[in-house]
Amino acid sequence: MDPVDVVVVGSGFGGAAFCWRLANKAPKLRIVCLERGGWVDRKAMPSYRRDWQAASFGAWATPPNTRLKSGEKTQTADYPIDDTNSAFKPLMWNGVGGSTMTWAAHFPRLHPSDFKTKSLDGVGDDWPFDYFDLEPYYDENDAITGVAGLSGDPAYPPKPERRMPPIALGRLGAAAARGFDKLGWHWWPVDAAVNSAPFDGRAACNHCGPCLMGCPTGAKASVDVTYWPKAIKSGVELRPHSIVQQVDIEGGRATGVRYRDQAGNEVVQPASLVVVAGNGIGTARLLLASGLDSPALGRNLMFHPAAYLRANFDEEMDGPVGPVGCMLYSHEFYETDPARNFKRGVHIQVTRENSLLSMATRLGPPAWGEGAQQFLRKEFRHSMAVLVLAEDLPEAHNRVTLTDKVEADGLPGVKLDYTLSEHSRRSLDFGLDRGEEFLRAAGAASVLRIPLAPSTGWHLLGTARMGSDPAISVTDKEGRCHKVRNLMVADGSLFPTVGAVNPGSTIGALGLKLADGVARDAA
């Protein structure tokens, strides 16, 4: 292959934002993105089929391990992940668009305090820059993505006018607002990366429901429909079905990558700059397999520990309608309060109902028999779920490592070790107590606590963290590896700490910021 200026591994949120920005800021650079999976054909998405509910247990399940087990093939090129020793099971999509293909598109920013946990609260680490350094990139990322929401939220510094009005809150939202109002707590409609009106050539959301099985209308801003068409138009070459096996490193410099193409041939792609954006597991796996010498690599894996409350109401709600994760949230307890037995805070989010089949297959209470059917009768179209997300702090023993096995994709196997800390447990318990208090105030007839929700490994963060000390960080604040300066990381692996909110908007903003650094150096 002819040498290129920049090769990017992974077309998910970080990779897409990075490629688009760099192509626009440094148009002379030749940029190639290698993506292990393919493009999804929206017409083939399950939501058009009568058996759509079953797809979330097979080819469109959110855990890659479940998809692999199902044996059904789509455009995600998954690899097995040994998660037996992890409290949370990893979720991701390995095709063009990365995990945004199946994300819920809830689009919060981190708070300013999230960038300074060490100096403010004596825990975690400070980021090498702050909220206000990232703010212009958040704004730019919002503008490309298209955000439905409402400005004026007192939980955040002022944000630009949201491009579209918030997604309809429905009956569920009205009941939730009532509850928060009664307690005098903060609540606000979420920022959603979902079109509430036509935007950028994409349709408005028609509230079909199962966003986690891909959005057939394109209303949900996955990066295959936001950044990628623009990046390709700006000259980026995206090569799907290209599984990168190794970053070649010689004498402290990356010389390019080796990948397996769709036909199974090994291709060498020389490049002046290699950028890895394979997510918190894929990036660590590839860099460990490439022999990058960095003691923090693969360590400090963070997920955002999650717990749930499920409440039944006598009144009728909306049913499984509307973008499931995009409704409203409370940051009443997001910031540190010295009166609590933990530092930092919790994110409390009210979510919409899942499909009938998903609700029926939750394990209890009870799982089958008359009691199960009667419970479901009471729950379906009458329930409100509250998701509690906590901030897990970086801990070196929570990590991604390689196994001795070589997997079918040619790379070494990958294993997770993650235990829930006492600190996280205290945060979750506090969040569950507050969530229950809220649900009772909203009028819930019954409340069920799910103290830990293992199948919520949506956020894969921290395994190639930024920092200034090579002993405890993998890259500098520009995303460049301390030991191999022309090898960069541009995804969620970079987070030194994670706040307690979803990371997508920060990953996109970070991708843009890092690209500006490269463009500056190239000028």
């Binding site: 939501s47 300013p112 007192p154 510094p157 903060h186 509230h207």
Partner: protein, 132 residues
């Protein structure tokens, strides 16, 4: 009642609501839709298929509970297969008060945010900054 119907109706007895949920045996689930290993485990726990068929509903429930405790993954596979067929059937969706057409291309109606909710939000806004 056949062995298969006895198993299905123990898992999914249905109800007598105004729009009744059909029993598990009432929506055309075949033995081939379910894992044979699980059906065999139930027959073996009961002594035979006929013994399970002849047992009272309470005894059948006990037998399934014992299989669930002894072979959780085998039992789970049976339950998931039965639930998948049952809760995707038109009869059940309708009895649950839901629609049978897929989510697309028509989408679903969702009530707009009401005036009282917007009014409540004004109070939140007036609190002023809560971030640090």
């Amino acid at each position: 009642m056949s062995f298969l119907a006895a198993v299905l109706d123990t898992l999914l007895p249905g109800d007598r609501a105004a729009l009744p949920l059909p029993p598990g045996s009432g929506i055309g689930i075949e033995a081939s839709d379910l894992p044979a290993e699980a059906l065999a485990a139930i027959a073996s726990e009961a002594g035979s298929e006929a013994a399970f068929e002849a047992a009272s509903p309470a005894t059948r429930t006990d037998i399934l509970r014992r299989v669930e405790a002894k072979s959780p993954s085998v039992f789970q596979a049976l339950l998931t297969a039965a639930l998948m067929r049952y809760y995707q059937s038109d009869a059940v969706m309708t009895a649950m008060g839901w629609r049978t057409d897929p989510p697309q291309p028509k989408g679903r109606p969702l009530a707009a945010t009401d005036a009282a909710t917007w009014e409540r939000l004004k109070k939140v806004k007036s609190r002023g900054r809560i971030w640090r």
